[in-house]
Point group: C2
Chain length 331, copies 2
């Protein structure tokens, strides 16, 4: 029996292409002492993976050519040499773009879905949800009546940010690409408004949608969108700085003009990587699970079937073709 | 007896010109109930004043056409209707570009120089020093062995930032315009290095001067200098964001390319206006006074003589022609 894997074949020059990936049929891994063999059920596709494909300085070492692509998964324990896990346990893992992996038991987290769909352990009650929880609540510190703007509003992180901000009493304005996404953000997710950054007059429409200015800007995309937000910031605005997906393809950079606004509005900006804040995960997941099961958080998923379709789904996500959380179902 | 004043005659289009100011001989003001008539001895000239000359949103309302230019002064009490002050008391005041002012006693702070020159109450032991103290120590939180970079390093704020950072155990690199300023920063102020942003290959020379990266960047200027610093920031770097003087003339803006570095290095950026942190002034001034009297802080002043020379001195400061703190001696 073989283990199908997706490895990095070459570093993208600009946009990712399918031939940056290569499929490999590896031998089935065997767990060593204190290791667990897991069978991946769902693979999460996330924008940060694009950064890991680049050479050079980032917050984590790049994936090397020939290495399996990194990624979070939901998996089933197939064989365990760690006494904390038994065959059949469902866990969240960092087991990558492959069918099976032998990993240290300490890297696994047992999952108790309490009735929620398993896949949501990779979205609302997983890394994207915890990212939203931490950035919005701990950095943004929303107060009732404030205006919260979130970019990539229909995405796995942005959709949670906006819905939580709304039931915390804020006015919430999303930014997303295209009419379909904006409709989803307003009608299904309940945001007060959503502005299409691909449409004409984006900057002036964002201004019209935020008549009281912006108190919290949850940043996922950077570049031109960030530049449009800056002049609208209120005094003492907060910016949880979570992503800069507009330039992960790093072939071009946008020159941001309005940084003087940071000073004018005495802004606090805090960039963060949620994997560096493990101390808050339990509290965040408990909140998120309760909110999901209580019907306070809506979500949508785009699910590709089979590891064979992971590269295409990943490219589509970077191009904004998915709606909601992008997953790959492996088994 | 008349009161010579400098009022805003017109808003600058781009760079400030002398004809944006007008001299007025006003009647001598008379203090009302709880007011104090002060005679200005020294007027502080500071970059923030340029922002106050512009129309539009900023952190403080603009000076209106025909109004006296705002500014901090050291003054002598000429007549007091506030029981806390007596004729002859020396005070710091926000008494503006004029010889005399009648101001509320609550806006004054009595000065005890403990032997330091009076003018330093507008530099090291005044607003610029407190700005440096707060931004460096409370936002920057320097630790021994870290690298601190400060722009406008020869200025009233930057010179204090660098000297304090150095005796807190940091490696300190200044950024300044021209050889004379850089020599002053290294030889007189004791910085480890200084990079001339007007010289060729500024970006690569800054990189060479910070072989261990940058842990704290004290921002006074923005634009191209900020862009050069961003890729050099270490993980968890802090940016006390104090000024953006490169664009106070607001005729052009520089498009900053490297903001993705904020994310890569999980940077915390906090913009601030020192007048909004009055609770720390007493502690800061006590520290700064002790450091100055103990010989731990060196400083230099450029002093214009007479209010007639204030507009020219202000324009010169914005063009970087002064060295150290720019003052006007009025009496």
């Amino acid at each position: 029996m073989k283990n199908l894997q997706v490895v990095l074949a070459s570093r993208p020059q600009g946009s990712v292409a399918e031939n940056n990936f290569r499929f490999v049929e590896a031998a089935m891994p065997s767990p060593g002492k204190d290791e667990v063999l897991v069978r991946n059920l769902f693979l999460s596709l996330d924008p940060y993976m694009r950064m890991r494909m680049n050479e050079g300085k980032s917050y984590a070492p790049p994936v090397q050519i020939g290495e399996v692509m990194v990624g979070g998964t939901i998996a089933e324990v197939a064989e365990s040499k760690d006494p904390r896990f038994r065959t059949g346990d469902i866990v969240s893992a960092r087991a990558g773009w492959q069918q099976y992996a032998a990993v240290g038991g300490g890297t696994l987290r047992k999952i108790d879905m309490r009735g929620a769909p398993l896949s949501t352990a990779l979205s609302v009650v997983g890394m994207p949800g915890v990212t939203a929880w931490y950035g919005l609540l701990k950095i943004g510190e929303p107060k009732p009546g404030e205006t919260v703007v979130v970019s990539a509003a229909s995405g796995a992180v942005g959709s949670v940010v906006g819905q939580v901000a709304r039931f915390k009493g804020c006015r919430v304005v999303g930014i997303a690409g295209g009419t379909a996404k904006c409709d989803y953000v307003v009608k299904d997710l309940g945001f007060d408004a959503c502005v299409d950054y691909k449409a004409d007059a984006f900057e002036s429409r964002l201004r019209e949608a935020t008549p009281d200015g912006i108190d919290i800007y949850f940043e996922n995309v950077g570049g031109r969108v960030f530049d449009a937000v800056l002049p609208l910031l209120n005094a003492f605005a907060r910016i949880p700085f979570c992503g800069y997906v507009s330039e992960y393809d790093n072939s071009t950079t946008y020159g941001v003009q309005h940084l003087q606004s940071l000073l004018v509005s005495r802004v606090r900006l805090q960039a963060f990587i949620i994997s560096e804040h493990l101390e808050i995960w339990d509290e965040a997941l408990a909140d998120l699970s309760a909110w999901l099961l209580g019907g306070k958080i809506n979500y949508r998923e785009t699910i590709a079937l089979g590891l064979e379709n992971a590269p295409g789904a990943f490219i589509g996500m970077l191009q904004g073709r998915n709606l909601g959380k992008q997953l790959v179902k492996l088994a």
